[in-house]
């Protein structure tokens, strides 16, 4: 089955009303999203948001309870070799066999993947200065991450899913790993989906943003467009949300002013004519944090959510 975009291109990844239930609890529900080919997409969300559930369904390790995943237009079937081969996966803890050498790991990769590219694998570790004969347990954390990424790349999968790839690395190894990922993205026509907790660093890496919370997609789309569609308003404290342009995402009230992050269409954000109002562009981090701080339910469906406990006594998250 082929599913095309409005412009005729097939998205690298599409999930359609995807859901997974664990007993009575939904780990993820009604998740519909798209990542275009060639994007570097960031997946952010608090612990328990459903990120791992989503990633495991995307890579074909977990069967959806409802909905489906397609990768480059092909519907995925969990557990089949064909689906598993189409998505490269770098897991959080870079699971490698500690007593295997790097060369052994590559043999394993070749045995398990029909399109395994041994040349690419060997050239990459050589360029990175990692000896093929070294055992995995003798490698640094950064090198293990590199070998893990190399294994995923050598599968020749067009979509790569990286689950918290740098969370176990020190800052220098983290930077070097991401430098390698960015150079690889420039060299090959690959699509990346990267989950991460390090919000402050994500802006440099991703051009597509997916915010997941409470088992639902809160926000998804091209990062620059999403930034353009939000403003941080500074208004007198008494100003009710109803008087503000756009939709209030997050509000912080101080003694005299309120800082309100709103979502609004272009042109809707005019604050001229309101003395004491100011509209500023939002930073990537402000945007992500505003969505992460609001309550989990139903931003996309527009259901009212109860005010959440914010980080400070004067902070409340609102949704309407």
């Amino acid at each position: 089955m082929n599913q095309h975009d409005a412009d005729g291109s097939v998205p690298a990844l599409r999930t359609d009303r995807l859901g997974r239930r664990y007993g009575k609890v939904w780990g993820l529900r009604d998740c519909t999203l798209e990542v275009p080919a060639g994007a570097v997409a960031a997946l952010v969300g608090p612990n328990g948001a459903g990120k791992t559930t989503l990633l495991e369904m995307i890579i074909g390790l977990l069967e959806p309870t409802e909905g489906q995943v397609s990768v480059f237009g092909e519907t995925s079937r969990a557990g089949t070799a064909e689906t598993l081969a189409r998505v490269g996966y770098v897991a959080q803890d870079h699971p490698l066999y500690r007593d295997f050498t790097v060369a052994d790991m590559f043999h394993l990769g070749r045995a398990m993947n029909p399109r395994w590219d041994q040349k690419l694998a060997a050239a990459r570790v050589e360029a990175l200065g990692i000896p093929l004969k070294r055992k995995v347990k003798g490698l640094s954390g950064g090198q293990q991450a590199q070998v893990s990424l190399t294994m995923a790349l050598a599968k020749r999968a067009p979509l790569l899913v990286l689950d918290e790839p740098v969370s176990s690395l020190d800052p220098v190894a983290r930077l070097e790993f991401m430098r390698d990922v960015m150079a690889t993205a420039a060299d090959h026509a690959l699509t990346f989906l990267i989950s991460s907790h390090v919000v402050s660093e994500l802006e440099r890496f991703c051009d597509w943003l997916i915010i997941l919370s409470g088992g639902h997609v809160q926000l998804a789309g091209p990062a620059d467009d999403l930034l353009d569609a939000h403003r941080l308003l500074t208004v007198p404290r008494a100003t009710p949300d109803a008087d503000l342009p756009g939709r209030t995402i997050h509000r912080t009230d101080s003694d005299r002013h309120s800082a309100v992050l709103v979502r609004a269409e272009a042109g809707q954000l005019a604050v001229q004519g309101h003395a004491g109002w100011q509209a500023d562009p939002v930073s990537f981090e402000q945007l992500v944090m505003a969505y992460l701080q609001r309550t989990s339910t139903a931003a996309t469906t527009g259901n009212p959510a109860p005010a959440a406990e914010g980080p400070g006594p004067n902070t409340k998250a609102v949704s309407r």
Binding site: V40, A185, D187, R204, L227, F284
Partner: protein
């Protein structure tokens, strides 16, 4: 070879930072027509940023007529540099320094100065927009 930098705390989107740097460098004469910009991969690896961001910045520069891609060779500066004439630059700088001194004497700190400039700019923009509207009405 020209090198970009990235200020992570500025709040300005990375692609715009790259565009601004080329514009500024042209204005100040650091970049000139015919200069080659680094490859997308080099910038991506150097700054550890998404290559699509670099592509977007280069496209914007092409759109503004400041740079152009030559197939297989890279992206080159195509604009005849039009730096601010030294005399004008000197005059503007002198009056700005005088203003900054006056602001300091009036007790404005760095942040207050920045805020005041931002507000004045905003007002000026609105005035210009207002003028344009009135002209159209006439």
């Amino acid at each position: 070879m020209f090198r970009f930098r990235l200020d992570g705390s500025s709040g300005v989107p990375p692609y715009l930072q790259l565009v601004h740097q080329v514009r500024q460098s042209l204005l100040l004469g650091y970049l000139q027509e015919g200069d080659r910009l680094p490859t997308v991969k080099d910038v991506a690896a150097d700054l550890v940023i998404n290559p699509n961001t670099v592509v977007k910045a280069y496209r914007q520069l092409e759109h503004e007529g400041l740079a152009g891609g030559r197939p297989g060779q890279g992206t080159f500066i195509t604009a005849t540099s039009s730096p601010v004439p030294p005399a004008a630059q000197q005059d503007l700088r002198a009056s700005l320094e005088a203003w900054l001194r006056a602001a300091e004497q009036a007790g404005l700190d760095h942040e207050a100065v920045t805020a005041l400039i931002a507000v004045a700019r905003q007002d000026l923009k609105q005035d210009i927009r207002q003028d344009l509207k009135e002209e159209r009405v006439r």
